[in-house]
Amino acid sequence: MPVRGPSLPYGTCPYCQTLILREGLRVEDVGKVAVLPFDVSPIQLGTTLVADGRGMQVVGRVRWAWAGGSWNEWLAIAETGAQFWLAEAAGMFMLTAEWPQLLEDPKVRSFAQGEAITRGDVIEVEGRQLFASDIKKVECLGSEGDLPISTLVGTRMTSVDFRSASGEVLSLQRDKTSTTAWFGDSWDLTSLKPGNLRQLEGWTIPGEPR
């Protein structure tokens, strides 16, 4: 079983869909992960990206579903080991890095304690005002590759997206055990200087000869 992110605790076996927890030298069978439905995402495990001068590689994916549809969250790891989520929505991308200092924010802290956030709520990050725009209860549809979280069938969480006028995004994710905060920017695929994109039948990868 290929491991792209050795620092990550969870891996999904591509052959039997078993979710494996690695702890030191110990490997534990945690359960089964749903098969990912077919999609035409241009990203695949092994795709490389460059954002703000940092190179990173995609090592895992979770697909989340909510009442209004479903989307991919790709996990990318920089050479430093830093983790990024690349969220794919309607052909646009949001690349976020973990922002633990935000957990000190009173609004985030009360969210972590189970309080609700309503659309339009404001949080200031890095001097920018971000407005809560998407509040979703999401359920895992499946996963692949190496991940920092468990993606067993039935995994649920609350996801809140905040956006600024200039395209910055803050994503708060709360599951049964913890809350994490992720902050970053909106991108189109071309400006992420992608390498090793997935070849989709019938389409030409922009910038590559036909």
Binding site: P37, F38, D39, V40, S41, P42, A65, G68, G69, S70, N72, A90, G91, M92, R119, S133, L141, R163, A165, S166, G167, S186, D188, L189, T190, L197, L200, E201, G202, W203, T204, I205, P206
Partner: protein
């Protein structure tokens, strides 16, 4: 041909290709038109239709190149507001995401969804270093037909509130529905480019508005449907009608004219200009006085229409004055070398027209004679006529008729 996914329509059993698998949420079956939810592995029927195939200008599934990039038409919407009906096409390329093509009134626009939001107020927004001003007012829009697939829960009957902002040829469109705000940048694209890229079902294009000439402004995007065009037409019709009516009322015309000389600082006794005849029970009579060029002088004129049969006189006064000078604001002039006088109600009869008058200098009369011993005079051509029209009255009417629609038009377009 595309790397899509095939599903089976739960309503009609037909095979459907999902072109943007993983992104598409709702899909209208291309066989029966039923609306399906394909966001989850299991396809869910949202609404069953039978043969609800709608004709759109572009066919779902066509591929073509717009602005140098390849796109596939994956969805089509028919939408309307209070002014017009138009079609929107959702374009997809898995590497580039989504774009829009809009066609309304024979014009095509290419739309790019914005991740960064323009900032501003109701009338003006600022986006990527440019100012955009509002075009028309907010319009409630509604979707009347859907075909193909969409990345959100779409359905016929969806409504949104749309506002357009313009800078040059670029338009930013803001659509708000269910509290969600979406911005799209729209740039014009030639119909020939669209036709070359995707082919065009010309018969399915949205009907062009019969918007030509004077009515053209009504078709400006974002302009609400209203009576402005009718107001203009009505005002024009009334002006024309009034001109004809006044010409008819004015009746047959007779004219007489003569030239007089009035010494500056002096006066002249009544001079007979000629004879005019009023053939209707009553008519307007106008007397025009036309002077040679002079500055800082005024001429008081007295006109007498003397009825030949009764020897009764009808009197009126005229004034010709013109001043020029320089003040702190620069050079100025005031008055005119021309003066019209109108007799409003002259009964039937034959009249001798007499004129007398005096001329003066401003601020004081000049010396009566100059160094050469000659007297300064002002030459005036006096023309009396019956059957004249009161153009002043007519212009007042025209002004009153057009004031309202013109102010509306000005108010609307001042921001552009």
């Amino acid at each position: 041909m595309s790397g899509g996914k095939a599903i089976t329509c739960p309503a009609c059993g037909g095979k459907i290709e999902v072109r943007a698998a993983g992104f598409t949420v709702n899909l209208a079956c291309q066989n029966c038109g039923s609306l399906l939810d394909v966001s989850l592995p299991e396809v869910v029927l949202i609404r069953r239709y039978k043969n609800a195939k709608d004709r759109f200008a572009l066919e779902i599934g066509k591929r073509g190149t717009v602005f140098g990039q390849e796109w596939e038409v994956v969805g089509a919407l028919r939408r309307k507001d209070q002014i017009t009906i138009w079609q929107e096409f959702l374009l997809f390329n898995p590497y580039l995401g989504y774009r829009w093509l809009l066609v309304a009134d024979g014009e095509w626009q290419f739309g790019t969804p914005l991740a960064d939001r323009p900032q501003g107020d109701r009338n003006r927004v600022f986006w990527r270093g440019e100012n955009f001003s509002r075009l028309g007012r907010d319009q409630p829009t509604s979707t009347t037909a859907v075909a193909g697939e969409f990345y959100w829960r779409v359905k016929a009957g969806d409504t949104a509130n749309a506002t357009l902002f313009q800078s040059g040829e670029t338009i930013l469109s803001r659509e708000v529905s269910d509290g969600e705000e979406n911005w799209t940048q729209l740039v014009p694209v030639d119909e020939t480019e669209i036709e070359n890229a995707f082919g065009l079902n010309r018969r399915s294009l949205p009907r062009r508005k019969a918007a030509q000439g004077l009515m053209q402004f009504k078709a400006a995007p974002g302009m609400e449907q209203d009576d402005l065009g009718r107001m203009f037409l009505l005002a024009m019709a009334i002006s024309l009608f009034a001109a004809i009516a006044m010409a008819l009322l004015a009746g047959p015309s007779t004219k007489t004219s003569s030239m007089i000389q009035v010494p500056v600082g002096g006066q002249i006794a009544p001079v007979k200009i000629g004879t005019i005849t009023v053939r209707r029970p009553w008519q307007f009579v106008t007397i025009d006085a036309d002077a040679n060029r002079f500055e800082n002088r005024w001429v008081d004129l007295e006109y007498n229409l003397v009825d030949r049969s009764s020897e009764q006189s009808i009197d009126a006064f005229g004034l010709v004055e013109h001043y020029a000078g320089t003040s702190s604001d620069g050079a100025w002039t005031e008055g005119s070398h021309h003066g019209d006088t109108m007799f409003g109600h002259v009964p039937r009869g034959t009249y001798d027209v007499y004129v007398s008058g005096s001329a003066h200098g401003w601020p004081v009369d000049p010396a009566v004679t100059d160094a050469w011993g000659s007297t300064e005079t002002i030459n005036l051509t006096i023309e009396a006529s019956t059957g004249a029209m009161s153009w002043g009255m007519w212009w007042t009417l025209v002004f009153a008729l057009f004031a309202w629609p013109v102010s509306i038009l000005w108010w609307r377009f001042r921001d552009k």
